[in-house]
Symmetry: C2
Subunit: 129 residues, 2 copies
């Protein structure tokens, strides 16, 4: 399964520009180049791109993504290290889940309590103050 940049980008749900940028900064490298110099990608690279997209969407920095990808790549690293880093990131994600729930609830409150007709003065204003 070998793909050009636009196909891997489409599947990873990332702009091609971003995929090219991730190559430039050596975050996710193509698995090779064609005769003409086109980047080629396989399924492993696709998985990494999807993973990075998700991690980036939740505020992990590029360097943190590098660290997270390292979990999959560095077979030399012993698995106690892997487990320690992954556990730390997992705790961060769980904290993010709780915060996201709070944001969700705040907005749900708006949706639930605004009557949805044309009367002005949404009750959320009192709620916030």
């Amino acid at each position: 399964m070998t793909m050009n940049i636009s196909e891997v980008a489409r599947r990873a749900e990332l702009p091609t520009k971003t995929v090219r940028y991730y190559d430039d900064i050596a975050l996710v490298k193509p698995n090779g180049r064609s005769e003409a110099g086109y980047r080629t990608y396989g399924n492993v690279e696709l998985s990494k791109l999807v993973f990075v997209r998700r991690a980036r969407a939740f505020g992990f920095t590029i360097d943190e993504c590098r660290e997270l990808l390292g979990l999959y790549e560095d077979e030399e690293r012993n698995s106690a290290d892997v487990k320690a880093i992954a556990s730390k990131k997992l705790a961060e994600i769980e904290a993010k889940q709780r915060e996201l729930q709070l944001l969700h609830d705040e907005l749900a409150h708006v949706v639930k309590n605004c009557h949805g007709d044309d009367r002005p003065n949404c009750p959320i204003i009192d709620y916030l103050s």
Copy 2:
């Protein structure tokens, strides 16, 4: 309850630099200035800052935050509009929740399946490929 910038920043869990920046771009304005020109903040501004911090942490842009804050502020806007915008954002947040769960599960898989001793070769490598 009136606060200086450092106190409101501490409570909102934002850097003072960022709070000052949000004033500059007119996202969250202080409720006034002291004699000496110090920014002053009340509870409403604090709530807004917390709300913005959460929204920003999940990839909403500054302009989207402006729109979301508008839900609380614009008493002229009829509540059908408010409800429509809030519902749209709520759907986005729910999509983010599902994506975050996927990221969580992927990492949990690492934590669960890496034996956590010093044997190399974490099984996640096979899982990804």
